[in-house]
Amino acid sequence: MFNELLQFLINALSLGSLYALMALGLAIVYGILRLVNFAYGELVMVGGYTLLVVGAGPWPWLGVAVLGVGMAVLTSLLLERVAFRPVRHASPNTMLITSFAVSALLQNAALLFVSPRPRAVRIPAIFNENFTIGGLLISQINLLTLVVCLALLGLLTLFLKRTLLGMALRAAADDFTMTRLLGVRANGVIATAFAISGCLAGVVSLFWIGRIGSVTPTIGLTPILIAFIATVIGGMESLTGAVVGGYLLGFLTVGLQLLLPQELLDFRQAFIFGIVILMLLFRPQGLIQAGASREKV
């Protein structure tokens, strides 16, 4: 019984960490631009296809992984410059639809230039290995996900709390106009947010595709949905909220898997989305409300 509980805890924490990264990447851009970035999922796809293309070469996996993350960051910056900057001052709806169009563009470009079929990606051997401690079966990918995600969360926290750019970023999320009046460059802050978002998407792609083993043009859909749910649960405007939402969703997913009867398991996704809608109705600000997010009239 104790072992089962521990097993559950490790699985849930590992999945939760991954979900937390997905949510954080979406929330960091939303916090500043109020943009629900539909194209965020496609950054995961870009990372995945980089793994596919570069992974076919003779380089060690770690190098390939760095390139994958790098490509996601570059794509994110490029999208900000080409597509989002020109519509930054338009209505939030225009920005949103732009990101929807960018998402469709990237997906179909992958369809056009690669293939609509799933392509197997080289996965390092340690992703598939398991080991046992005291009768506890632990898959290394779960442990690795947990460790890397926690390290990344720690680094990001340090960056946001201790560096000038990080502080400017948090200030901009609170009140962008005020921050600009204090002499912080808007373009720099926004580009930083997109770069972080791309970096998180890149790391997500390593582990997400490590779990699935292949990449398709529509692989970004699930991560973006998860990020939506987690940010709504945790609070759209709070980065802490996004992380909390991600972990909660991880526990919920693994928990429902164990608890729901077989015939309802197919509807699990619908259940989770039902929770989102209830959340939006009864606590639209999410579990954690950011300091200045309450609308002022």
Binding site: F100, A101, L280
Partner: protein
């Protein structure tokens, strides 16, 4: 006389060219062209439904293609013959097995079911706007899709449903298109439509004038779900075999592209967007097919049309965010 003509002009300027187009397609007798125009009119009903809600309320919605699916599935449950149902829907509930109605009542039931679902989920939903509405409606689209895939009894699961009789033709779809152009334009000009548009411009100012925003949005939501549901029923009885994937992200993208490129703010925008995007789409599709047929590339080309369409959409959003029509109707030219 001239006053009446001026008032009728915005609608006549939309319906007359479309009437000519439909007549031309009919006279030409080219099956492919007639098919394209029919699908265009079906899409037009969906885009008009979407415009009625998004255009007048200013709230984005991604759930409407789900309503299109509900209209499609609910209508075929009543229009199919018991023999066809026995083949296509093996695990259908006993009550529905023997039911068969003519096309029009089935279509209206289908649209009615879509409106009913919208009425139930819409009431709490209409309190949201901005990012909340976007995420909630997107979540609902996914929920509806998951239900389509898993509710085997009425949808045949993720598999294609087949054996539907083709009732929709060029003139049926065109007629519904014209009816909904009139409805969408009329709705805009009713008191409720005006109040809804006021809430789009400034929620707080509208509320302070005593407008019940949740109520006016809800009415528009239910009405638009009905229109989109009719579109779904028309689609089902034209295409005659489809799977839940027909009512998911691809169709959502196409319909939103039509509305955005034309401009959400006016009925003319919805019509112009539908016609323009259909023309671009079919032109590119033809080019894509020609390239594939000539085997210029080792693999078949897929996604080329959508890539061009999304680029067109982004350019429109950057350079003309209110769409081709800029939120205006066609107006009687002043001397």
């Amino acid at each position: 006389m001239s006053v009446n003509l001026q008032r009728a002009f915005p609608v006549a300027a939309l319906i007359l060219p479309l009437l000519l187009l439909a007549g031309g397609a009919n006279l030409l007798g080219n099956q492919i062209f007639e098919r394209i125009v029919t699908v265009m009119f079906i899409n037009l009903t969906v885009v008009l439904g979407l415009q009625m809600f998004i255009g007048n309320s200013g709230v984005s919605s991604f759930v409407h293609i789900g309503f299109m699916g509900i209209g499609a599935y609910a209508s075929i449950l009543f229009s199919m013959s018991p023999q066809d149902k026995a083949l296509a829907l093996r695990s259908l509930y006993e009550v529905l097995k023997e039911v068969q109605l003519p096309f029009l009542p089935s279509l209206l039931i289908g649209a009615g079911v879509a409106a009913l679902v919208a009425a139930v989920i819409g009431f709490p939903l209409m309190r949201l706007s901005g990012a909340g509405a976007v995420i909630a409606t997107f979540a609902l689209l996914v929920i509806i899709h998951v239900i389509f895939i898993n509710w085997e009894e009425v949808t045949n699961g993720p598999r294609t449903i087949f054996g539907i009789t083709r009732y929709t033709n060029l003139w049926v779809s065109a007629a519904w298109g014209f009816v909904f152009i009139l409805l969408a334009y009329g709705f805009k000009e009713t008191g409720l439509g005006l109040r809804l548009r006021a809430s789009r411009e400034d929620e707080r100012a509208a509320a302070s004038l005593g407008i019940d925003i949740v109520w006016v949005r809800w009415v528009a939501f239910v009405l638009s779900a009905f229109v989109v549901g009719v579109g779904g029923a028309l689609y089902a009885h034209f295409i005659t075999s489809f799977s839940p994937l027909a009512f998911y992200l691809t169709q959502t993208f196409l319909v939103i592209a039509m509305l955005i490129i034309g401009g959400t703010g006016s009925v003319a925008g919805a019509v112009v967007g539908t016609v323009v995007v259909t023309a671009i789409f079919e032109g590119l599709r033809a080019a894509e097919n020609a390239i594939n047929l000539a085997q210029l590339f080792p693999e078949t080309l897929a996604g080329f049309t959508e890539v061009c369409l999304s680029i067109a959409m982004i350019l429109i959003l950057i350079y003309r965010p209110a769409g081709i029509m800029g939120g205006q109707e066609f107006r009687w030219p002043r001397k």
